[in-house]
Symmetry: C2
Subunit: 195 residues, 2 copies
């Protein structure tokens, strides 16, 4: 989905920076790709890039937890159970949102229960301008099925189909509601916006 | 490595059954592939197939642990740490070895400390006829570097290079020391052996 969104943004003439975890995906050549591994690295790279951007589409699914202790060597089995102590990683979108100046933010929510309600709660907590709600069927799939939810809780778009098509639809809504709006007047300019 | 070993065994004229976890690998067309996900499923599929085989090459790296409880729905963050309780999965090779009749077994060991010593301990615990010792550099790599250890602890082969080449070398040793030996006389027959 990240690749499809990057391509759709490139197609609209935006300068695109992709901050990506270690996934087996080929991003558009026109995009600048910053590779990260951990959620902490994702936040650091985004915090560096975000001030120079006009908007953020947060489609990554970073790890919500990290182990407190990481073994340096391979652990041998002992026959006994093990307890893995995990602590939460930072909330990347909420952290960036707290520092936003003029940027619009589009979040992604993947929930298995009450998806529409939870997407709105997420939108508020992460101060997003739009939340894209999709389900677990989105993972490792060709197709996706999404609802776009605005800050009032209204469903302002519902798209299904190949991820490339869904991404183009999402970008069209972003373009109309956020990019054009943030320019003050709805006139198109030749200047490229950084997403 | 599993794909390369399957290909090398096919090349030697063996009937090959691959029991494979969910990996992004294309196995040789001549091989029968049985797809599994969990370590329990791996053991079940192998236990069914093993009695009809002449040998086992155990190159899979199944999960050593499984969570005691699996959430049905996506868990929401609460701000608090979580404790993941994990218990050991069954030892697939040791379980098969305990039921072996005439089969030879080649195990794989990937250790980061004392690899040669630990490979021998593993060979004994899992009743293997040979143990292939390789390191963490083998993972997601084109090349591999292995040592073959026999039940006396002797290093009877050391190969490095592309996995296809290393697999062919390993199969050559297996062919000479285990397949031919298990036929009683070192004469080659046209009959295909099941691996």
């Amino acid at each position: 989905m990240g690749r499809a969104l990057a391509q759709a943004a490139v197609d609209l003439g935006h300068d695109v920076v992709v901050v990506s975890g270690p996934v087996d995906v080929t991003y558009p050549e026109a995009a600048t790709v910053r590779a990260v591994v951990t959620t902490d690295e994702l936040l650091a790279a985004c915090a560096e890039t975000f001030p120079h951007c006009d908007g953020l589409i947060a489609a990554a699914a970073p790890c919500d937890y990290r182990p407190v202790r990481v073994a340096r060597d391979k652990m041998s089995k002992t026959g006994a159970p093990i307890e893995l102590r995990l602590v939460e990683t930072p909330d990347v979108v909420a952290t960036l949102a707290a520092a936003k100046t003029h940027q619009w933010i589009v979040g992604f929510a993947l929930e298995t229960e009450d998806p529409r309600y939870r997407a709105l709660v997420k939108l508020e907590r992460k101060q997003c301008d739009l939340m894209v709600s999709n389900g677990p069927k989105a993972m490792h799939a060709i197709d996706n099925e999404v609802e776009l939810i605005d800050p009032s809780g209204a469903v302002v778009g519902a798209f299904a189909g190949p991820k490339e098509v869904v991404a183009a639809e999402i970008l069209a809504v972003i373009q109309q509601r956020l990019v054009v709006a943030s320019r003050g007047t709805p006139t198109w300019t030749a200047s490229r916006r950084r997403v």
